[in-house]
């Protein structure tokens, strides 16, 4: 094949990738980094000295890391056994749970925390029930501090482990385990030497996502952190006080910790790959559980978990029908009304809000999908080249994850600062005040999810398939459309869906840059909350969850469409 013809597509891919990274990640964040190293125009480390000399900041850094480590451990503790139970065995109730498992992941944070407060809070349904049952004077617990944070984090982030371990288990080559068993290895030895290495990439990816999400977690510490000081809250407080330099310096510290974790985890991720083996072997079939007692236990646990998963959403639905002020010391609201929904559907503004969010999230998600194909194709190229060595690839994957590692506020402010006025570098390219600023920010914040999902699917791909197609004379486009795309399609759709759904409920970045033309759902919910229209806020949340459910069904159909 002609040499230049092979180089051109790669060059194009590189250009697209680089453009987005330079303009979307490097340029806006460069200002953040330089500010943290400057004081009155001079280059200095003084900001870091000042920040790190404060006891509270050190405390916040350690608390953030500790909280994230505990969150990872707890999520693994919940998610991995569940994945084993529901991927390996068949019993009544398994499908129901499978359908619900990812629910916490797509529950918008603003809605999720509110539902959580109504359900588990000090005066929530659970606490009031226990209080009334036991005849207590005061509430049996408070929803504050470490236990509350860990509970909420585990609830919202365990799906990373559940979903990724489940996917990993489906890829595990059962014949390897059988071979080991027939050679006399014990069950424990098989688990440790055969199963664990194959699952490692999935576990590492899950741990990394959980760690970073927990580090950047803001709503939960703000609402029920009590006196627990985490770094995101310190940044928020510094901004509120007007200490912008300190806020920026703390942000850089936060991002550095997250990225250090990434580097740390990547060392393990790369060393153990079982790509080829996994493709050639057979996957293990689900074993039906026959033994009566175990079957009952498994079914029971499926039911219990399903109930736990659904409770916050059920609470939200309940609140959406509650009348104002009808719920003070009672266990559940005493009056019900359709008024909240009537109000929502009678106002043209609410339709607009839903349309805006749907449109912007779709643009961001589809853009992220298209761009991810460029990035991943580039990252996965097996041809050794001078320009694209392993070092460059590692830097690329690092840059891609930066927006995910940063708190949403920081992403919004840095983009707004960088694209707030016509500049020499950018010409008249201004985003502030336009419809486009939100899709761009959604794209930047959530494209790491799509890239990761696609990368995982691509890694599974047997490179010999592509080589075979090439040797048969297929062109680049043909190989992509006929070989690669069908095989990675399910993973790509899953990642895009996740980005789409999370973008639908985005709040912290949106509030700083939205305009009348793109007012999203989350802002409408926040407005209702500020006006103490809790029922109306819940009604918005219920409709939003309905939309998310519909998109997941559509995505399920899309996934099968290519297969």
């Amino acid at each position: 094949m002609d040499h230049t013809a092979r180089k051109l597509p790669v060059l194009l891919l590189f250009l697209v990738t680089a453009l987005v990274l330079v303009y979307g990640v490097l340029y806006p964040n460069l200002a953040v980094v330089t500010t943290s190293f400057q004081r009155s125009g001079q280059w200095t480390l003084a900001n870091y000295r000042d920040v790190l000399a404060q006891r509270v900041v050190l405390e916040a850094i350690l608390t953030s890391i500790g909280l994230s480590v505990f969150t990872v451990a707890l999520c693994a503790f919940v998610g991995v056994p569940l994945a084993f139970l529901f991927e390996r065995y068949d019993f009544p109730g398994r499908r129901l749970f499978g359908a619900l498992a990812a629910l916490p992941l797509v529950l918008p944070p603003l809605v999720g925390t509110v539902a959580f407060i109504f359900l588990c809070g000090e005066s929530g349904i659970l606490a009031r029930t226990v209080q009334h049952l036991l005849g207590l004077e005061t509430s049996p617990w408070t929803l504050r501090g470490w236990p509350a944070l860990l509970l909420f984090h585990t609830y919202t982030m365990y799906p990373f482990f559940y979903v990724l371990t489940g996917a990993g288990l489906r890829r595990v080559d059962a014949s390897l385990a059988e071979a080991a068993r027939s050679l006399g290895a014990s069950r424990v030895a098989v688990a440790r030497r055969v199963l664990l290495p194959q699952l490692t990439p999935a576990l590492i990816a899950a741990a990394l996502l959980t760690f970073m999400t927990s580090m950047a977690s803001f709503s939960a510490p703000l609402l029920f952190g009590g006196n627990v000081r985490v770094l995101t809250l310190e940044i928020f407080t510094a901004r509120q006080r007007g200490d912008m330099t300190i806020a920026v310096t703390e942000t850089v510290i936060l991002a550095t910790i997250s990225l250090a974790a990434l580097v740390f985890f990547q060392r393990y991720e790369g060393t153990r790959k079982f790509v080829a083996a996994a493709l050639k072997g057979a996957t293990r079939r689900r074993e039906p559980i026959k033994s009566g007692g175990v079957r009952v236990m498994a079914t029971l646990s499926a039911i219990v978990f399903s109930v736990i998963l659904v409770l916050p959403v059920a609470t939200l639905i309940l609140v959406s029908f509650a009348g104002d002020g009808s719920w003070t010391t009672q266990t559940i609201p005493s009056q019900y009304t359709l008024g909240n929904f009537r109000r929502l559907f009678s106002e043209p503004q609410s339709y607009e809000v839903f349309l805006n969010s749907l449109l912007m999230s779709a643009i961001a998600a589809v853009g992220a999908l298209a761009w991810s194909f460029c990035v991943v194709t580039l990252l996965m190229r097996r041809v050794r080249s001078r320009v694209l060595g392993p070092g460059v690839r590692r830097i690329l994957s690092l840059l891609i994850l930066i927006p995910w590692a940063l708190p949403g506020t920081v992403v919004a402010v840095s983009i707004a600062e960088a694209y707030g006025q016509p500049g020499s570098l950018l010409g008249s390219f201004v985003l502030v005040g336009t419809f486009w600023i939100l899709p761009v920010i959604y794209f930047l914040r959530f494209m790491p999810l799509v890239v990761r999902a696609l990368q995982a699917s691509m890694e599974q791909l047997d490179p010999s398939l592509d080589e075979a197609a090439r040797s048969l004379g297929a062109r680049v486009w043909q190989r992509f459309a006929r070989v690669t795309l069908p095989l990675v399609w399910p993973g790509a759709v899953a990642g895009t869906l996740l980005a789409f759904v999370i973008a639908l409920g985005e709040y912290v970045a949106s509030v700083l840059v939205f305009v009348p033309a793109n007012r999203p759902i989350s802002i409408a919910i926040a407005s209702e909350l500020r006006d103490f229209n809790l029922g109306a806020a819940a009604a918005y949340g219920v409709v939003l969850i309905g939309i998310i459910a519909i998109s997941m069904i559509v995505a399920g159909k899309l996934e099968r469409w290519r297969a």
Binding site: F236, R241, V432, A526
Partner: protein
Amino acid sequence: MRPRYFLAVLFFLLTSVFFSCRSGSVNSRRLLIYTPHGQDLLRDFVARYKQKYPGAEVQFLDMGSREVLERVRVERNRPQADLWWGAAHTTFQTAADENLLEEFRPSWADKVPEGSYDKQSRWYGTYETPQVIAYNSDAVSAADAPRDWDDVLDPKWRDKVLIRNPNPSDTMRAIFGAMVWRFQKDTGSTDQGYEWLRKLDANVHEYTADGTLLMQKLGRREGLITLWDMPDVRLFKEQKNLPVAYNLPSSGTPVITDGIAIVKGSANQEEAKRFYEFVTTPESLSYAAQKYYRIPVRTDLDRSTLPAWMNEPFTRMPLDWDLLRKQGSDWLRYWDTSIRGRSSKQ
């Protein structure tokens, strides 16, 4: 070949979306207002404005007043909003100092009291909000409720006091600042003020993230006492049916002035000025007073058009707002690092 069609359709969709959205969003000649006053009040006033001036196009974005400040800062090179309606005067003064506000002298400029406007006319006061001690009226009788600031420190309220996180709240910043300042003005030292906050911390059950949660938790008896602003407590009692009531502190209370300002360099200044004047006419002010519990700042109004409770006398706490604004941040930072959650609760 199906994927190629798929991509072509996708491309077409994206470009059409791009062009359809581009028109209208940029450089529109509509009046844009940033405001924390809430959707109900804004929709109402926009509708009344359009009735008077048919053809006027008005849009508003509702968010917290600190978020407005942050946005106006970010957008300083390309201002989006024309009018900023609603925030404590301390926030407006900060914005004025950062050169974010335009000078404008409304027709009623000489009808507001001293201290309720910027000397350089960059903002003027519209409403005033006295701070009060609020309590759950189902759980606490009017006779038992604290009557003055120091009563809140009584050990009988241990673990019963709810306080809104003061960092993002102008109301709470003012109250905390006033508590430090009232000792500092005599002794020159912040020690006694900090001691007061430390004792308060010992009684605090929870620092809530926002005002809505504060009122919700008070209504649901997670705590029984709080410090908050008078119009809000009244609104929650009468319009949201929450069992809450308040006492005006007998030794005097800080009164925050809520203001209005035109954003520097904005596109529709004439329209902004017209709206500015419209919402501050005596009719508009007494309408807002009747329907939305906003106490007007203007001194030339017929007080009989206002709800009776607005005419009840109370003691004002004289405050040095400039000092509070400049040093308040340091005090708050000290509170945040050395007082909050650190007092012994034995």
